[in-house]
């Protein structure tokens, strides 16, 4: 397994496991998507146990979770799987977060409770890597209220002094002001690592996807200059970069015909020397096996390969996809909409073209089987918007999907 050394001398596998998309009994993942529609069934603990065991056997030793993931189930399930694996606590690193959601979680007491629960669920007395979760999401004000005004950040620093957490960092999505603030205060807080969204599309083109984003190159360079190790999230953009896309594949296939698109995307991220770990939210055992193989015989990208990936990124952008990663931070929608499934339908069917109106309507019914969860039931209330780490204008997209569907329905009705 390809590893890099931490400042304290410990070795970290460059492939890390993200526990946001734990496998469910119905074959989907716990933050959303099954074959058709949203997964509502429980987490498949038996499968998870065997997957975690497999990864530990193959040297994957970085496990990232959060109190919010999988409707709050992730920490407990991951903790159980790690405990059952038979490996000692020192053999793996656990990362979890001070999550950034409801205002009821803002007071310092609630933060302390959240941390205690994390220790309890993960069956441990210390956390290797503790993160301020998704800073900048919802704007700088939210960041300030969540971490600064309530003294949560200072409390985290004391936790680090007490060695209850070994490394303190933050994950960044959203408002650049929050990132800049953290960088400016590096002298005070001494960030041990930072988690950013990076992949070959976001490397130079994050701004094209959404003007409010920062390019991953800028984030990486800034952090590297300060010698802050980088943890990568969304290397596959929620699986979007792993799904077949002919225009993208055409740029890459000549260089390595056997490599999957997922392998290309993971190699891209891992090729940068200041990247500590690339997190992948692997739901299926086959994905784990494939990615483990990628990192067991790891070969950094050559200049020619970087150039090909840049061309692939441009092709990907041309598809006009919304950058939804099915993270389900927007869920549950109070009006019952199945937002990740709807956006995935938008990207994979509606905007792809080449299909008859009836086929598209059938695909719509399959993507979101329950009529009351479809796009026309969006009220435009906007409660989801501040939660989206990709800054997607969800109500706008829902209106777009519904107007397209209405056009198709009318087209069919006219026949």
């Amino acid at each position: 397994m390809f590893c890099r050394a931490l400042s304290d001398g410990r070795e970290v596998s460059v492939l890390g496991y993200g526990a946001m998309r734990l496998p469910t009994v119905d074959g989907g993942h716990a933050n959303g998507w099954v074959k058709s529609g949203y997964s509502e069934s429980g987490i498949d603990q038996g499968l998870l146990d065997s997957q975690v065991k497999y990864m530990l056997d193959h040297g994957v030793n970085y496990y990232d979770t959060s109190p919010a993931y999988c409707r709050g189930e992730s920490e407990r399930r991951l903790g159980e799987a790690l405990a059952k694996s038979g490996y000692a606590r020192k053999d793996y690193l656990v990362a979890t977060k001070l999550s950034n959601f409801a205002p009821s979680q803002f007071p310092l007491d609630a933060c302390k409770k959240m941390f205690e629960n994390s220790l309890k669920f993960l069956k441990t007395d210390y956390i290797d890597n503790y993160l301020l979760h998704s800073i900048g999401n919802g704007g700088f004000d939210t960041f300030s209220k969540r971490y600064l005004e309530n003294g949560a950040l200072d409390w985290c620093v004391t936790l680090r002094e007490k060695r209850q957490i070994r490394n303190l960092g933050f994950s960044f999505h959203g408002d650049p002001k929050a990132f800049e603030w953290c960088i400016e205060h590096h002298g005070t807080y001494k960030w041990d690592f930072c988690q950013i969204q990076m992949n070959y599309v976001d490397w130079r083109h994050a701004k094209e996807v959404n003007a409010r984003n920062l390019d991953a190159k800028y984030l990486y360079d800034t952090l590297t200059e300060l010698k802050i190790p980088v943890v990568i999230m969304e290397p596959l953009l929620g699986g979007s970069l792993a799904r077949f896309n002919e225009a993208v594949a055409r740029q890459l296939v000549a260089l390595d015909p056997e490599a999957s698109l997922a392998k290309w995307a993971l190699r891209f991220c891992a090729s940068f020397p200041n990247v500590m770990t690339v997190l992948s939210g692997m739901t299926r055992t086959e994905h784990i096996e494939e990615n483990v193989a990628t990192f067991e015989n790891f070969r950094p990208c050559t200049d020619a390969e970087f150039a090909a990936l840049e061309r692939a990124a441009l092709e990907y952008l041309r598809c006009g996809n919304v950058p939804c990663t099915s993270c389900s931070y927007c869920m549950p929608c109070p009006y019952g909409l199945d937002i990740p499934s709807l956006l995935r339908f938008r990207n994979d069917v509606l905007m792809k073209g080449g299909k008859d109106a009836k086929e598209i309507l059938a695909a719509y019914a399959k993507a979101v089987p329950e009529e009351l969860r479809r796009a026309d039931h969006c009220t435009g209330c906007g409660l989801c918007r501040p939660h989206c780490p990709q800054q997607i204008n969800i109500p706008g997209e829902m209106a777009m999907i519904d107007s397209q569907i209405d056009l198709l329905k009318n087209e069919v009705a006219r026949r």
């Binding site: 959601f101 389900s328 549950p332 109070p334 009006y335 329950e370 969860r373």
Partner: protein
């Protein structure tokens, strides 16, 4: 030769009416249904000449009864004999009572109930899986199993009674000899050739078009739901049927009174509704007749009046030359007490969805432009308020056709 011709015609008619309900071959299939259109008059006039052509060859229930007869009693020459036999006293009492009651109901404005026992009504309701229709259809089939001919036609059906009356002096019909003692021994006789009924024996029922209704729990109030974790689906539920002052009729059912009399509640429009919003009424006066139920759909602006196109009785007129948005079926009414906006929720669902831009959010509340609203029900369909939608459509007694000359 005559037998073969009859079988072929019967097979085609059964196919045509069934096809119309499943939305294929619609054009021809719908135009030739002789249910109270000009065609019906033609058939009516031909009856004294050729006998009960309608029951034998056109009526879907008649054809199905013949098929059932043939399946259970292939040897009996039932069809030929039974209709000409002198009727028993009981039979006459039953059929004329039904005829009189149906006629009286239809004449006094209870047309939907009056038409309930007519064959297109029963067949249509059965095909659209409307429970009373299914029950009556089952009765028809069970009665036919006794091998005593088309018992429903001869004992109950008011249309059959009418044709029976007209065909008494039919020129071509078989006559029963003067010596007949009505012993009915002929029923058991196995002699004689019979034209094989080549009609498809299945009655063509398939899977329901309608999606199963899902979701049970009440919608959580938006402001009460605090998000602390990721993922999951909020429970959803269908709204209740609002207490509308007047039902919304399909576009082209211009005058409510005339519509109520003309519609035989066959369900053809319901089966062919593109928006999935027509459903059979359960009100006594309009039993089985189509009306809008916006819980599962709304009237599509781009629809080419599919309901009017298939209507065999002309109760819903086909008005393809009028733009859909110029036919006003009703208008939306908004109730503040029910609306989620009164709780400060920033909902704009009705205004977003309205296809004619008739709902404006003014000072935080939806205001309906009654001049522009066409009553399509899109707003009612998407309204998140539970248990009742806060915005619903009131149907007009006379639908309005608006030609906004000033706006051209």
């Amino acid at each position: 030769m005559k037998k073969i011709l009859k079988v072929v015609v019967a097979a085609f008619m059964l196919y045509a009416v069934t096809a119309a309900f499943f939305g294929f071959g619609t054009d021809l299939a719908c135009r030739i249904q002789p249910a109270a259109t000009v065609w019906f008059l033609v058939v009516l006039l031909l009856t004294p000449l050729v006998g009960r052509l309608f029951c034998e060859c056109f009526c879907p229930l008649g054809i199905i009864q013949s098929i059932v007869n043939w399946i259970f009693h292939p040897k009996t020459k039932v069809r030929r004999v039974c209709t000409r036999l002198p009727e028993s006293h009981a039979q006459q009492t039953v059929r004329w009572t039904v005829f009189a009651v149906s006629g009286a109901l239809a004449a006094t404005g209870f047309g939907a109930v009056g038409w309930l026992l007519t064959p297109y009504s029963i067949y249509g309701k059965a095909l659209t899986l409307f429970a009373p229709g299914l029950a009556l259809f089952a009765v028809v089939v069970v009665l036919a199993c006794f091998g005593r001919g088309r018992i429903w036609c001869n004992w109950v059906c008011p249309v059959g009674t009418l044709f029976n009356l007209l065909s008494r002096k039919s020129v071509c019909a078989h006559k029963v000899g003067p010596g007949c003692a009505n012993c009915r021994a002929c029923f058991a006789a196995g002699a004689g050739e019979r034209a094989k009924d080549e009609t498809d024996r299945t009655d063509g029922t398939g899977a329901t078009r309608r999606e199963a209704i899902k979701g049970v729990a009440l919608l959580a109030a938006a402001e009460a739901l605090e998000k602390t974790t990721d993922g999951g689906l909020a429970p959803v539920s269908l709204p209740g049927v609002p207490d509308r002052p007047a039902a919304v009729l399909p576009p082209g059912a211009v005058d409510r009174k005339k519509f109520n009399v003309r519609c035989v509640a066959c369900g053809l429009c319901i089966a062919n509704c593109r928006g999935g919003c027509l459903s059979p009424s359960t009100s006594l006066k309009r039993f089985g007749q189509p009306e809008m139920d916006f819980r599962r759909g709304y009237c599509l602006l781009g629809c080419n009046y599919a309901c009017g196109h298939v209507c065999p009785t002309g109760a819903i007129r086909w008005i393809p030359r009028l733009e859909r948005k110029d036919v006003h079926m009703g208008h939306a009414i908004w109730k503040k007490d029910l609306c989620v906006r009164k709780d400060g929720v920033a909902c704009t669902a009705c205004s977003r969805k309205c296809p004619v831009g008739a709902i404006h959010i003014v000072e935080g509340f939806p205001v309906v432009d009654k001049g522009a609203c066409i009553g399509c029900g899109a707003c009612e369909h998407v309204c998140p308020a539970r248990p009742m939608p806060a915005i619903f459509v009131k149907g007009f007694d006379r639908q309005r056709v608006v030609r906004p000359a000033s706006m051209v």
